[in-house]
Each structure stands twice: as structure tokens, then as C-alpha cells.
């Protein structure tokens, strides 16, 4: 998955410092704005969201490109 780091994000969502349910909600809002094929980069520090955003991506039938970083400082790439 490391080669994906070079993927250019179309939309970046910075949720660092935010808590439940903001990272999840802001990710969803960005995914709604995105066009099919767009890459969304989400930055965050809320540990539960690191697990839950991938769950939402799966539920929405979208593509999880990568999850990087620690539980308290992570980056998630999603493709719509």
C-alpha cells in the first residue's frame, strides 16, 4: 500500500484535534462532495475514528486506499 502515498488527494479533510462524531461526519461530507474516482485524504487524531472511518468506507461501498500512522495521529486515503 506504500506506493499510494504518492497519490494526489482531490480533497483533504483535516480533523486533527476533533472528537466523536466530527471526523466521521466530516469524512462523509467530503465523500458527498467528491466526484466518482476522487481521492479523499483524512487527517485525524481521534483513535476510534481511525477504526470507524474504514468501517464507514466499507458500508458505503467505497475503496479504502490506505490507513497510515498511529492511533493518535493518522492519515486515511479513500477513493470514491
Amino acid at each position: 500500500m506504500s506506493e499510494l502515498k504518492t497519490v494526489e488527494a482531490n480533497i483533504t479533510v483535516d480533523c486533527r484535534g476533533e472528537t466523536c462524531p466530527v471526523p466521521l461526519v466530516e469524512t462523509r461530507k467530503a465523500l458527498r462532495r467528491a466526484a466518482p474516482g476522487d481521492v479523499i485524504k483524512v487527517l485525524g487524531t481521534h483513535p476510534a475514528s481511525k477504526k470507524e472511518i474504514p468501517m464507514a468506507v466499507e458500508a458505503l461501498g467505497l475503496k479504502l486506499l490506505s490507513v497510515e500512522g498511529t492511533d493518535t495521529d493518522w492519515t486515511i486515503y479513500i477513493q470514491r
Binding site: P21, V22, L24, T27, R28, K29, L60
Partner: protein, 139 residues
């Protein structure tokens, strides 16, 4: 059974309105539909300027407990109820207002934030939503 959450917001307590909106927004964020039916004390929170005016459900201590909890929430960067309600609407959430409560409590449509309300209705409309929901909660 549709992938949908329907919540009755009966309580107007600040913490319970938080619970309703957090669950509803989580559902919307994860691809479900969500409806909140505001009734009784919950409907009071849809009056203009009243969204965050409810007491704490426990340890309110005439507002002192609420003040302390709000300070801790600010420190933890918990989003405001107003942001959560705006997000709820932006993600396609549906707001229903109980018209019997309006009659009992003498609330006129113009007392409420009409721009947010999708429907003024009664129990039949709630049931129509709930019968098609995989999750329904009474808060």
C-alpha cells in the same frame, strides 16, 4: 428492512439531545438514513434559540452542573449542538415535529425553526418511518 435509524427525541435535556444527534449523524456518516421525531420536551429544543438551552439530565444543580459539563466538553472539543444539527440536515437527515405537542404546549410553527423541519406530523408518520427502520430509539 431499510438501512435506517429513526429516533424519538422526547427529552429536551442537553445531554440527551447530544445523544440523539450523535447517533443520527453517525448513522448518516455510515451510509444509513436517519430521522428524528421531536416530541414533548424534545420539541422545545426546536424553538428559536433553544437548541442548547436544555438542562443536564442528571446533576444539573440549577445549571451549575451543566456549566461544568459544557466547559469540559469545550476542552474536549466536542462540537456544538448547532453544528451537529446543521450536519444532520446537510447529510440528508429528516426532522419531524410532533403537532400534538405543538397544540398542547401552545407552540406555533413560527415559534419553531421552520427551515429545519421537514414535516409536522403525528404518531402515524413516526410509525411509517419506524416500520422501515432497522434501528429505532426513544431518547
Amino acid at each position: 428492512m431499510a438501512d435506517k435509524v429513526t429516533i424519538i427525541a422526547h427529552s429536551g435535556d442537553m445531554d440527551k439531545i447530544y445523544s440523539a444527534l450523535i447517533v443520527a449523524n453517525g448513522a448518516l456518516a455510515m451510509g444509513m438514513e436517519a430521522t428524528i421525531f421531536f416530541t414533548f420536551w424534545g420539541l422545545q429544543r426546536l424553538k428559536k434559540g433553544a437548541l442548547d438551552k436544555g438542562p443536564l439530565s442528571k446533576m444539573n444543580f440549577l445549571g451549575l452542573g451543566k456549566w461544568m459539563v459544557q466547559r469540559r466538553m469545550q476542552k474536549a472539543k466536542v462540537a456544538s449542538l448547532e453544528k451537529m444539527l446543521q450536519d444532520f440536515k446537510e447529510l440528508g437527515g429528516k426532522v419531524m415535529a410532533c403537532d400534538m405537542t405543538m397544540e398542547i404546549m401552545g407552540i406555533k410553527p413560527e415559534d419553531l425553526r421552520q427551515d429545519l423541519i421537514d414535516e409536522y406530523c403525528a404518531v402515524g408518520s413516526y410509525i411509517q418511518e419506524a416500520r422501515n427502520s432497522s434501528v429505532t430509539l426513544f431518547i
